[in-house]
Amino acid sequence: MPNSKPGIKKLYALSSENKRFCFPQPLKHSIRIGKREYEVKLKSDDKYGTYILWKNRKYPVEVVSSRQNRYEILFNDISYTFTVETPFSMQRKKVINAARGKTEKETLKAPMPGKIIDVLVREGSNVLRGEPLVILEAMKMQNEIQSPVNGQIIKVLAKPNSNVMKDDILVEIKVE
């Protein structure tokens, strides 16, 4: 009956390469390596900016973007993308993906005629829904054409400095 605590005891951070990092909820400010717990601290000051202090060393860190449960973190000059999942949402991902079977393809078409100024992705790039993929100049302005889905770029057909008509296919994306 409704009234039991939701009781989410652990959370998973899933990397873009499907690596899973498990953390207990409530989150501890320490990470266990082998038998020892090492303290982790998130700090910020004027000299260094935002950083993480771990094992007596400072690591520069920036939160590049955060949308819903998807976070892009720049840690020590390397970018990582994670989605944070509850045990249920991890299971749900499996169920939904199994049910949907064949991978879908999404084509990104030019919404109006214009000139391609810049192509921001390459084959294999991982993209998020809403992320700009192509810059199209039309009506004297540079317009961002955004990805309609989360997924991976299969094919890039748009070429910088080329002219396109309305509905010309710019990019093909494998839907995640």
Partner: protein, 518 residues
Amino acid sequence: MDLSGKHYKAFIERQEALKKQYNPKQAEKQHSKGKLTAQERISLLFDPGTFEELDAFVTPADQPVEFGKVERTYGDGVIVGHGKVNGRLVFGFAQDFTVMGGSLGYVHAKKIAKIQEMALKMGTPIIGMMDSGGARIQEGVASLSGYAAIFHNIIHSSGIIPQLCIIMGPAAGGAVYSPALTDFVFMVNHSSYMFVTGPNVVKEVLNEDVTSEELGGAEVHARKSGVAHMIYDDEENTILALKKFLAYLPSNNVENPPVVPDDGTTPDINEKLRDIVPDDPNKAYDVKDIIQLIIDKNSFFETAELYAPNLVTGFARLKGKTIGIVANQPKVLAGVLDIDSSTKGARFIRFCDAFNIPILTLEDVPGFLPGTDQEHAGIIRHGAKLLFAYSEATVPRITVIIRKAYGGAFIVMNSKSLGGDFSFAWPTAEIAVMGPDGAVAILYKKELAESKNPAEMKKELVKKYRDKIANPFIADELGYIDEVIDPAVTRKKIISAFSALSNKWVKVPARKHGNMPL
């Protein structure tokens, strides 16, 4: 006094029977599809221990009520009640797909209507979590009139209490109007659908093959139809987001929204704002970058992000107080206004007006989208909606003109003449009847035709136009805007402006309602 006496036997038997109904096997039916059960959803939404269920034991109308040990389905497929969401009284219901497919019968509808009426009496928000197979066929017209009662209540309460709903499963046929009438619709990707006519009928009548997802999945409604305002990849995130969203809204149309104190890390003066607009007027920028720098840290909650992205709408906080933001987005379609963005903006503004939420408008609009598509589909009518919504709104309204503000679009985007309270402009603002290229082409048509180097001449004239006519100082000196401000002090300015407007009161005209173009 213990509970083992004969008076209590029936009581306990009933409790056991209810528990048996909500057993793990039932739960598995939902979990195997990646969905949560109705109870789990209620537990996630409401603060632990605060939910009081009502009418848990009603039985459906067509089932004979018997004594004895026959299994009865209790609740008629929906859990209704009240509880606290982040400490605040809210009424809510969750349809239970595992009980008779969550189908809406007479009693099911009565339960929902009951809490709708209570919510209206108490002046609290109402949240619906829909997951239903539709009307219960066995009950015939009784279930249809059940729907009608629900719709009627929504409409009756519209603009008085916030009404939110989450689609967590199918919602077909008549069932879709209940979300359509509510203030904001949340949908869960890949496991919720809304359509008036389902794929089977579409196949039969039009011989068109289409899946539920393609016809009315979350993506479709978020991107194309605009029916869904927020979509998320799983149920937990959706419910958590709704809780976050609710904190921006007041409980009713008399109270103010809750105040979430600012952590003080957003500087009132920020020089980064000067760097955002590029020097080249044809280069785009992301208006959300500006938004992030002027509101309380991380307080921007965007609504309908994927629909008409050329206009950004959403809620944010300034020093803890909720405001609504409407902003042109230059990097999509050059930030023009079109049919979709006009209706998106109009609806958002009217919601804010109904619930006393002040509105901040960030303007950078070169005009309306030209073309026969727009004209034939009625951009005139739809653009008028935005104009009407702004003018009609009596909440505090502030505009900051960032860059372009041409012609009709300038008027529409909350200009002072429409009753906007304060209008500020950045030095990069260009306020004119039309853009420089168009103006030069008209005013100097003869000279350009006769010139030996028209391109060069045009370039010079455009520059002159920008300097002499389109610059914001002229509008400032004539009083059409209040002040040209340093972008760096934008946050400080709007906070003090809204503060000055906090007691704004304008009497609405004595009429039933206006005749807004629809």
